[in-house]
């Protein structure tokens, strides 16, 4: 099951050229771009691991694509996303976030139902991949 998160999530995966252009758009708007990765695709997993610092003072998107490829070398089987922060409102707010790398196999999520008081049902989802410990989920 293809995980869809963030902007452009229903488009096919971007090529490096397309990533470059989107990132350049972010930079031209004055947003700080950073790269994050994770092997836990749960939608409530908001804080992914950071790949280096947010890139505040790179005027060209080639730097981000370069770092992305460095990150792919190490975490090529993980989810990697690019996020753009806008600090102009006075706090760091995410303007744009999109997935740029995903595992070749995405097993999807398990939906579990729990019956609680008054025969109400509580739903929860768990990624199948998170049964395994962190670091050994995607190969």
């Amino acid at each position: 099951m293809r995980v869809t998160q963030g902007t452009f999530s229903f488009l096919p995966d971007f090529t490096d050229q397309q990533i470059h252009e989107q990132v350049q758009y972010c930079i031209d708007n004055g947003w700080a771009v950073s790269i994050e990765y994770t092997d836990d695709p749960h939608p409530r997993n908001t804080y992914w691991e950071m790949w280096g610092h947010p890139m505040f003072d790179n005027p060209d998107a080639a730097a981000v694509v370069y770092e992305l490829n460095e990150c792919r070398k190490v975490y090529g089987s993980y989810y990697i996303r690019i996020i753009a922060f806008d600090s102009s409102p006075g706090w760091e707010s995410i303007r744009l976030s999109f997935i740029v790398n995903r595992p070749s196999e995405e097993p999807g999520f398990k939906l579990s139902r729990t019956e609680v008081k008054g025969r109400n049902i509580q739903y929860s989802i768990t990624p199948y991949s998170s049964d395994k410990p962190q670091g050994s989920r995607y190969k």
């Binding site: 005027p59 060209d60 730097a63 770092e67």
Partner: protein
């Protein structure tokens, strides 16, 4: 402008107009500016014009489908201090931007300190950080030979060189590296790092200025500071240049700038001591020959 270019590319192009391309790219302005704003440096200007035409022709060939590898644009500027290497590098960045070989056209100037770290594991991220900052523009490494210190085999400079070479090769489309420094030291640097020599296509030598060129530079500098020479002070300046040139630590245009700064100091002192009543702008901006002749250079000493 950019959209137009893209539309043209999507059509099948059978002929190109080099003159039109030249006009459209705005390269003419930069070359003219180079000619006007820089005194002397004829060989440098010729090389830059040649490079500009080569790049222009390459772009035209690309349009016609005569595909060639994107050219290597890394350069090395060698010459004595104060011969205008940094100034030309700045112009070069602008030129490459207009020709469409770099995307942003900014110049990042660094020296050894900015690339080489202080402890193990510090160098690689530091160098990469600088390289990333320079992507889309030009990285200018001043006194590049300090990166390589053969006398210390544990020097981290070697690591920076390796990363630099790797990025220069793999990210050729993303940034242009210009190395600069004194000629003899640069030659030695290239000898011990053959990888660098082969990755740099353009070696440009910056000649020293002649006495007349230095005088011309002095006049331009003085004018840009809103001062002026008269006949006597001009003569004094010419003599100053002649003597100063033979002394050690002569740094071409930079020495001239320093000499003018000191002349302004003495001029201010003289004006202050001599002024009795109201004085006009012409008096305030006039550099007399006495302001120059008071220099230690004339009495056999050295101005630094």
């Amino acid at each position: 402008m950019e959209n137009e270019g893209q539309e043209k590319e999507s059509e099948i192009v059978t002929e190109v107009n080099l003159k039109e391309d030249f006009q459209a790219s705005g390269v003419a302005d930069i070359l003219a500016e180079l000619d006007n704003s820089l005194i002397g440096l004829t060989p440098v200007k010729t090389r830059i014009k040649e490079t500009a035409s080569l790049l222009l022709v390459d772009k035209a060939r690309e349009k016609l489908g005569l595909v060639n590898e994107s050219p290597t644009l890394h350069m090395s500027f060698s010459g004595n201090p104060g011969t205008g290497k940094t100034t030309v590098a700045l112009k070069m960045a602008n030129l490459l931007f207009r020709l469409g070989y770099v995307r942003k056209g900014h110049l990042v100037t660094v020296t050894r300190d900015d690339l080489v770290g202080q402890y193990i594991g510090h160098t690689a991220p530091k160098t990469k950080e600088v390289l990333k900052k320079a992507m889309g523009g030009v990285l200018f490494i001043d006194e590049a030979y300090y990166l390589y210190r053969p006398e210390n085999e544990r020097d981290y400079g070697q690591e920076a060189i390796e990363i630099l070479l790797q990025v220069m090769e793999n990210n050729r489309d993303d940034l242009v590296v210009i190395l600069a420094g004194y000629k003899d030291k640069m030659d030695k640097f290239f000898e011990s790092n053959p990888g660098f020599r082969s990755r740099i296509a353009h070696h440009i030598d910056f000649p020293d200025y002649s006495n007349n060129e230095l005088l011309e530079i002095a006049e331009v500098m003085v004018a840009s500071m809103n001062y002026q020479f008269n006949e006597e002070s001009k003569k004094a300046m010419a003599e100053y240049i002649k003597i100063r040139k033979k002394q050690p630590h002569f740094a071409n245009a930079r020495s001239i700038r320093n000499a003018i700064d000191r002349a302004r100091l003495r001029q201010a002192n003289r004006v202050f001591n001599n002024s009795k009543g109201p004085i006009g702008a012409s008096f305030l901006s006039q550099i007399e020959d006495i302001d120059i002749r008071q220099s230690r250079v004339f009495s056999g000493g050295i101005d630094k």
